[in-house]
């Protein structure tokens, strides 16, 4: 045995990746349901996706407040009783609000599902939004915001989106303390009526599903007065900032700067998106990337540096993100641009490209392990108005992209002049 010689491997690119298909049906009222039945554990995940994100709000913060307060009181149960209903069975009911969508999710042992669906139904048909609950919500959100505003990374994350999309675009907008103070019960109730009670809803159901899952879902959600065919997303124009470079003093005692470098990028329907995902991996998408190897593993300027394409429906941005020592922030930014330049001017070697391909394919293989992960892929595909071909084309892009294409894409997109640059100390 010679320890200097690596054991033979099967190149991950030789794997034929398959995305387990979903089952699809509609409830009586036309609400689409996607299910993936898989997994050894007796658990189930239900995600009710409503088109009720901040894209639809007329007043800042209403979508998030409405989504959060779904669990804070119906005419039958107060907030404590709602929480108790889930906690008693060891289940988790979470709310999350995004740009286009807002989600009410349930994670539970399969055996308890039938106790919990009626509670979910109650929340989406009979929430009351009391003044007392809104007041506590406002107070606690404001307190949390005060803490977050002291964190450079939080401030940087808000500002860079505002530069790229404009502060009135749903992807660039952010709340100030006064916005939270202005929230009213009436605004939440109106939003609830329009986007939950008579909203557009899609169900994603995965895990070890009971045999009667269809009738169960239909019983509780099949009579909602959902508007399945309205509420289309019309892409909103962005209003990017004119100035490209920013340096913000947030904390006089800061020992690090939060660096964000970002450029607008098209959405997943653009023909370059899938191939740029490979270029992104090479650039800053994983631990072995150029940015990480240079700026962390060679220079020690940061604990971590990553680049990524934002997961947005209408349009995306390519972002480089890191926290670096205060005295090396400028050097870090210079190295980021140097790595862009290398990708534009030098062809990536076969070895490095094979490594990136294998890493990405191995990653997908690992990510498809388990019903929730499979459904996560499907959800992203479907909510972006794509189909399974997108998955297979993405895999094919990883397997087939060549060094010339990578260089051409780097020349098209990794141009410093396109990028906004921000440091928050």
């Amino acid at each position: 045995m010679n320890r200097k010689i690596a054991p033979p491997i099967k190149d991950a690119v030789e794997y034929a990746l398959a995305l387990k298909p979903y089952d699809h049906f509609e409830l009586d009222n036309g609400i689409p349901v996607y299910t993936v039945h898989a997994g050894a554990q007796e658990v189930v995940q239900i995600e009710m996706v409503f088109y009720a994100g901040n894209y639809f709000e007329q007043q800042k913060g209403v979508a998030a407040a409405t989504n959060f307060l779904l669990k804070n009181g119906t005419s039958q149960r107060n907030a404590f009783q709602l929480n108790e209903a889930f906690d008693y069975y060891g289940a988790y009911c979470n709310r999350s609000c995004y740009n286009e969508t807002a989600v009410l999710s349930l994670h539970t042992l399969t055996k308890h599902l039938h106790h919990l669906l009626p509670v979910m139904e109650e929340m989406i048909t009979d929430s009351i939004f009391s003044a007392a609950e809104l007041e506590i919500y406002q107070q606690n959100v404001i307190q949390r915001l005060r803490v977050n505003l002291q964190k450079a990374e939080f401030v940087a994350g808000r500002l860079i989106d505002a530069y790229v999309y404009g502060p009135s675009h749903p992807y660039g907008v952010y709340s100030q303390i006064e916005d939270i103070e202005r929230l009213t019960v009436e605004a939440c109730q109106a939003f609830y009526r329009n986007y939950y009670l008579q909203g557009k809803c899609i169900l994603f159901v995965s895990g070890n599903l009971p045999a009667d899952i269809r009738p169960q879902l239909n019983r509780h959600f099949g009579a909602l007065s959902a508007r399945q065919h309205s509420l289309a997303i019309q892409p909103m124009a962005t209003l990017p900032a004119a100035e490209k470079k920013y340096c913000i003093q947030n904390d006089p005692k800061a020992v690090q700067g939060a660096i964000r470098i970002a450029a607008p990028f098209p959405n997943r329907h653009h023909p370059d998106f899938k191939k740029v995902a490979v270029l992104n991996s090479l650039f800053g998408g994983f631990f072995g990337s150029r940015l990480m190897s240079n700026i962390r593993e060679d220079k020690g300027y940061t604990y971590g540096i990553y680049s990524y394409l934002q997961n947005h429906i209408q349009q995306s941005a390519w972002v480089i993100s890191t926290e670096a020592g205060k005295d090396v922030c400028d050097a870090t930014i210079q190295e980021v641009y140097k790595e862009m330049q290398r990708l534009r001017e030098e062809k990536v070697s076969d070895d490095e490209l094979l490594l990136v391909r294998n890493y990405m394919i191995g990653g997908i293989l690992g990510e498809l392990d388990g019903p929730f992960q499979i459904m996560g892929r499907w959800k992203n595909i479907l909510l972006n108005n794509l189909d399974e071909q997108y998955f297979y084309d993405s895999v094919e892009a990883i397997k087939s992209i060549d060094a010339n294409e990578i260089m051409a894409l780097a020349n098209r997109y990794l141009q410093p002049a396109h990028f906004y640059e921000l440091v928050v100390y």
Binding site: R3, P7, G39, D87, Q143, R144, R146, R296, T302, Y303
Partner: protein
């Protein structure tokens, strides 16, 4: 029920195999029985710094990450006060790559000067990012010093100071490796789409020839029972006052641990827990409040922490917590409340066990506690906890003399 097989190599390395043919992947998890508690008080943060150095090349392999990524794998590691755990996941066909990589760094590191220099800086940036450049980031630094007078849990895994990390030398690195990174001090767990017989032969091939080294025998200072309340006031440049109360609890292997664990859920586990309902929702004294413990191997801390609503005084907030604790000690809990936290535990375990990565890590950690099969009997231990035990243990734990309190006061003049 998690099935596994266990065997021990001649050099003392324990190997556990968990087959799961439903996945195309395999996980190789190597746990070393060394954590921040094994550090010298003047050289803290070393176990964690060392974890970084484990990726800086080994005797025969110049870099760890690249061959693994080429094999379609990814990896990470973490260090706690008790242990250091390394794991990688890769397509099952390529599992030998993980054996090659893991065995070579157990055999010997490259002890590269450059790696030490770079990782000292990286860890310093990690220190700044998580513990300095963040409001409340240094809280546990203060609390550990307050709560522990003797036991090495008195410092955080990242280290007691940046200076300790900056001062680490290559000689320290070598000594640490030879003392702790030996087969007899490690547990190897392989999980996923594998055959036990094949794993046995791979283990013998790659790990078998590594010299067993000297078994490290731990002699840690014992924390004497606390006999009087301790209080600390810190002024910091934070936007909100925060209150922290910590009580010493039981070690991970003590049978009363399960009772203490359920007490934290009754007080602080989610939207229907007692402290949240009473102090955030009804009395509106806190904007958030949590009750938790770290599950540490040696006797740990049961902690209640919360951020005060602007305008509320520390005394008022603290008395309200104490009133809830007295209620628990005198009235106990209902059968439904106990059922709730037991159900929560059962459910949390089922979700945790979904990925082979988590299962592999759990097997390693339970084996470190004495027997991997504990993970299969754990739930019955929770089920055995009674209403009376909750009441009596809450009297023992929430004793005034066992309590450490920190007022973390917002002082914006510091900014």
């Amino acid at each position: 029920m998690i099935q596994f097989e266990r065997f021990t190599l001649e050099n003392g390395l324990r190997v556990l195999v968990h087959e799961d043919k439903s996945t195309p992947m395999a996980v190789v998890n190597v746990l070393y029985d060394v954590g921040a508690k094994d550090e010298h008080p003047e050289k803290t943060g070393f176990a964690h710094l060392f974890e970084h150095l484990m990726f800086g090349g080994s005797k025969n392999i110049p870099v760890y990450d690249e061959p693994l990524q080429l094999a379609g794998g990814e990896n990470n590691a973490f260090t706690t006060n008790d242990l250091t755990n390394y794991y990688c996941q890769l397509p099952a066909e390529n599992i030998e790559t993980a054996f090659w990589l893991e065995s070579d760094r157990m055999l010997s590191l490259a002890f590269s000067k450059k790696s030490l220099e770079v990782q000292r800086k990286v860890v310093c940036e990690e220190f700044k990012e998580h513990y300095i450049n963040k409001p409340y980031g240094e809280v546990w630094h203060q609390l550990r010093k307050l709560c522990y007078t003797s036991h090495p849990y008195q410092w955080m895994t990242i280290g007691a100071s940046l200076q300790h990390v900056e001062d680490a030398t290559l000689d320290d690195v070598k000594a640490f490796f030879h003392k702790h990174y030996t087969p007899s001090n490690a547990i190897l767990v392989v999980a996923g789409n594998v055959d036990t017989a094949h794993i046995r032969s791979l283990s013998e091939k790659w790990f078998g020839p590594i010299p067993s080294g000297t078994k490290y025998v731990r002699h840690l200072p014992v924390e004497p029972p606390q006999t009087a309340p301790r209080k600390l006031e810190v002024k910091a440049a934070v936007p909100l006052d925060a209150l922290y109360k910590c009580w010493h609890m039981y070690s991970r292997t003590d049978h009363r641990y399960y009772t203490a664990d359920l007490i934290t859920d009754i007080l602080g586990g989610g939207g229907s827990s007692r402290l949240f309902q009473s102090l955030v929702k009804e009395k509106k004294l806190f904007s958030n409040i949590d009750c938790y413990h770290f599950g540490s191997t040696d006797a740990g801390l049961l902690t209640i922490e919360g951020k005060l609503v602007k305008g509320v005084s520390m005394q008022e907030a603290e008395s309200a917590i104490e009133a809830e604790l007295i209620k628990l000690q005198s009235d106990g809990i209902t059968a439904a409340e106990l059922e709730k936290v037991k159900n929560k535990t059962e459910s949390a375990m089922a979700f945790e066990d979904m990925s082979i990565m988590n299962r592999a890590a759990s097997i390693a950690m339970y084996e470190l506690l004495g027997d991997a099969d504990l993970m299969n009997t754990e739930l019955s231990r929770y089920h055995a906890v009674t209403i009376d035990q909750i009441k009596s243990e809450s009297r023992v734990i929430f004793n005034e003399n066992n309590c450490n309190t920190m007022y973390y006061l917002s002082d914006n003049s510091i900014l």
